[in-house]
């Protein structure tokens, strides 16, 4: 972000995306029994990260979603496996392709016709453990086993009217159950 900041659009209603970022947890030692229900959430102080970071109207931190209903994104798996990994792309220093773009978006999300908001939703409702985004429901890893969990893809949308400079600090958290 320091090397290639996202230019703030100058035209009213303009919107630029960052390159999307892919995250997962890497399980390097086998659980004694199992790891399950991997979730993700991020702290925010106002209605959404876009407001917290002054990203302009419609500016926000977005995340790939595969369910059609918002409530289902907290119950059913929204992450994708390594076979669906897509390298982020766009024009370096100018914009990244939108996750939900029909032509250049993330293939896992854009190809699910029923996905909420075309496959990319605001992170605004995933603001606590109780409201966490479900990365991978059910079993993530059983004994014996090691490897990566499902992945999530996040992307910042910067809109006209955004302010530049440092942004308020945030904490993003993965949480899972194990025994």
């Amino acid at each position: 972000m320091t090397t290639n900041p996202i230019p703030i659009p100058t035209n009213d209603g303009g919107l630029s995306g960052s390159f999307w970022v892919t995250h997962c947890i890497n399980i390097t030692s086998t659980p004694s029994s199992y790891v399950k229900n991997l979730k993700w959430y991020i702290t925010m102080t106002s209605s959404n990260i876009g407001a917290d970071w002054n990203l302009g109207t419609n500016g926000d931190l977005m995340i790939g979603v595969s369910s059609a209903a918002a409530a289902d994104t907290k119950t059913w798996s929204q992450g994708f496996s390594s076979s669906s990994y897509n390298q982020a792309s766009g024009t370096t220093g100018t914009f990244g392709y939108f996750l939900s773009s029909a032509s250049n978006g993330h293939s896992y999300y854009r190809d699910i016709a029923s996905a909420l908001s075309g496959g990319a939703a605001s992170t605004k409702t995933y603001n606590s453990l109780a409201n966490a985004y479900m990365v991978q429901s059910g079993s993530v890893m059983d004994n014996p086993g090691t490897g990566r969990s499902n992945f999530i893809a996040t992307q910042v949308w910067v809109a006209s009217g955004a302010t530049q400079g440092d942004k308020p600090d945030k904490t993003a958290t993965f949480v899972y159950s194990e025994v």
């Binding site: 100058t10 030692s29 530049q164 400079g165 600090d169 904490t171 194990e178």
Partner: protein
Amino acid sequence: MSDRPLVYQWIAHYNDGTSYPQFDTESYEENSFIKIDKDKLIKFGIYPFKKDFAYKVSKKQSVVSLGFLPIYEINIENEERLIHYRQVFISQETFHICQKCKKEFKFSYAHSFKIKLKDSKLGIKMDEVCPVCPHCGAKDYYKCNSCGKVLETFNESSFGMCPDCDRSKGYLERKNITSGSHSREKRWIDYYLGKQSTIQGRNVKFILKIKENGDCEVL
């Protein structure tokens, strides 16, 4: 699996007087939770580690730590079913460090100032938000690399040149006192202990959430 050291270990107590611990007392290997004999289970508890045992378990594979913590036990009666799991948190958090007072702080707009900028290329005015240290009030400033004059904002100058110096020299240099964020990872574990049973066709649960410091909350 978690790299976060365990502060509690579980022990299942059976109706024949034997027990089945999380860590074998001879080999110090971790036993499987799902192999607990539910038919014989009459009590289940989580216990802090004793010093010698913690050392031997840590030498094997699982890292554990010591603490003066309370014990939590529940009795399992009749048709009651055990609930136990750990919830592991892995957080990435950003923070700022003031280069003046060396204290860490969380940046919010409540402690910030705006620099008015004019982008000559785009021909528009923009704001840049900069953090102010909530501990000592320090913030970024600009300093002339020739005469040492200090300016609070870039706007007081003309095209980044010192107003007191010859225009061929006296460039303003930004001193990053509070800007620039850092990130780090934090991990912690909550321990859940409880039981459930079916009463008149309805599943009834009792669950305790126990934090790493031993604090307990009934859910």
